[in-house]
């Protein structure tokens, strides 16, 4: 508790556009947690950018008052990487879903972790493609029979985003539940503050195409151990984890973020033309 009031309220980070997610969707909570986190960090809206791809959760940039880029399916991370490298003073966030991030954008995910640029990636994982009406995604369990495209399940082991993120070089890894928005706000604050690539997996139920996920709120439990900076130890924990340990940071690395040196520039057209002169 401090005696100084914050400059911004969470509402200051919301746009006039109202969300059209299904009532009960976990993504509402993520939007609320994100705006609370930005208010707590006292980041002026004009110094923040949210980048996304395609999907229900990728609509978040439109619902915020910060700079936003609603881009191409699976390509949010390279756009965000370019933005952060060109404008290192900005706080760059990426929001999206499991299909966008781990299937269509799977290769970008690996290399974003590896590059370790100072951005925060918030993935709303509902284990389904919701916007296209309920197909199995990379994180769907192999025996989920809810889609007519996979009537007997996919039979394929689900993608493990946190294990893969850790192995690929993500510098901060956490898992939270949309049923605890205050904890989520706290973890997002930590993720933004931690240098390098921060990965936050949010268990965010799809109430329409995976109604059984409403039970997640009763299944999730607060992780019993605090974060480690030892990647091998974190890997052992994540490999033996059932996916429902939430609410804490699981890994905080110390790898320096990728920050290429920029040549001094005056930003003029003449200077740009000079660079391309033959």
């Amino acid at each position: 508790m401090e005696a100084v009031a914050r400059k911004f309220k969470p509402k200051d980070f919301k746009s006039e556009l109202k969300p059209i997610w299904c009532p009960g969707c976990g993504d509402y909570t993520v939007l609320n947690a994100l705006t609370r986190a930005l208010a707590e960090l006292e980041l002026p809206p004009e110094e923040v950018a949210v980048v996304s791809g395609i999907g229900c959760s990728s609509r978040i940039p439109a619902y915020t008052s910060v700079y936003g880029f609603h881009g191409v399916h699976g390509r949010a991370l390279p756009v965000a990487t370019g933005l952060k490298l060109a404008r290192p003073e900005l706080t760059v966030l990426v929001t999206g879903g499991d299909g966008d991030g781990f299937s269509i954008g799977g290769n970008h995910f690996l290399h974003a972790c590896r590059r370790n640029v100072d951005i925060t990636y918030i993935v709303m994982d509902n284990q389904v493609y919701g916007m296209t009406k309920g197909q199995a995604s990379p994180t769907t369990a192999p025996d989920w029979e809810g889609s007519k495209l996979t009537p007997e399940g996919t039979g394929i082991n689900p993608f493990q985003p946190l294990v893969v993120g850790l192995a690929s070089g993500a510098n901060f890894i956490a898992r939270v539940s949309s049923s605890d928005p205050v904890n989520m706000a706290q973890i997002i604050v930590e993720a933004i503050r931690h240098p390098g690539f921060s990965l936050v997996q949010v268990l965010s139920p799809c109430v329409t195409f995976r109604p059984e996920q409403a039970e997640w709120r009763d299944i999730v439990r607060t992780a019993v151990v605090d974060f480690t900076g030892d990647a091998a130890r974190a890997a052992r924990r994540l490999m033996t984890d059932d996916g429902f340990n939430v609410g804490k940071v699981l890994y905080k690395g110390e790898r320096p973020p990728f920050r290429p040196e920029h040549e001094p520039t005056d930003g003029s057209i003449a200077e740009l033309e000079a660079r391309f002169a033959l």
Partner: protein
Amino acid sequence: MNTASNRDGLIHTIPELLAHALAMETEAAERYGELAQQMETHHRDDVATIFRRLEKAETKHLAEITEMCSKVELPHYAPWDFKWTGAESPEAIDIGRVHYQLSVREAILLAYEHERSAAEFYAGIADTATAADVKKLARQFADEEQEHIGWLEDWLAKCGPGDAVAVDDPDPPLGQE
């Protein structure tokens, strides 16, 4: 369900109480507004009307508390430092418990549960605080919440059999074939 209380007596001063009240009423007003908007988007005007009325009531209550706070230097609490024991402030309906087919009765019961939690939160402070001014103000806030609880009890009493039935959707979302 939020089960906020002040049984551990962590709110001792008027500025601390007002900081909690301001956050709670802000979140309640905004949440009722969000839920009303969600229901309007899904053409559930019956349920949206309930949430809009509560939003209006909470906004009025918020304006009164904001006025009180203008004369006091409030401490800043990070969202996770407030003394609620639930996941959020007690008066804010959990978004995950709402559905587009929510019946009118379910919506009223949900609001009733959270208004009661808010009253219990203030009553808990009134019971455990040691300072007389904190006790008095917390009791006043608890009584104001009772007014909302009274409305909801009236609305519940007026519910007909149809109000308890989840709304049928003749064109439900279907998985892509």
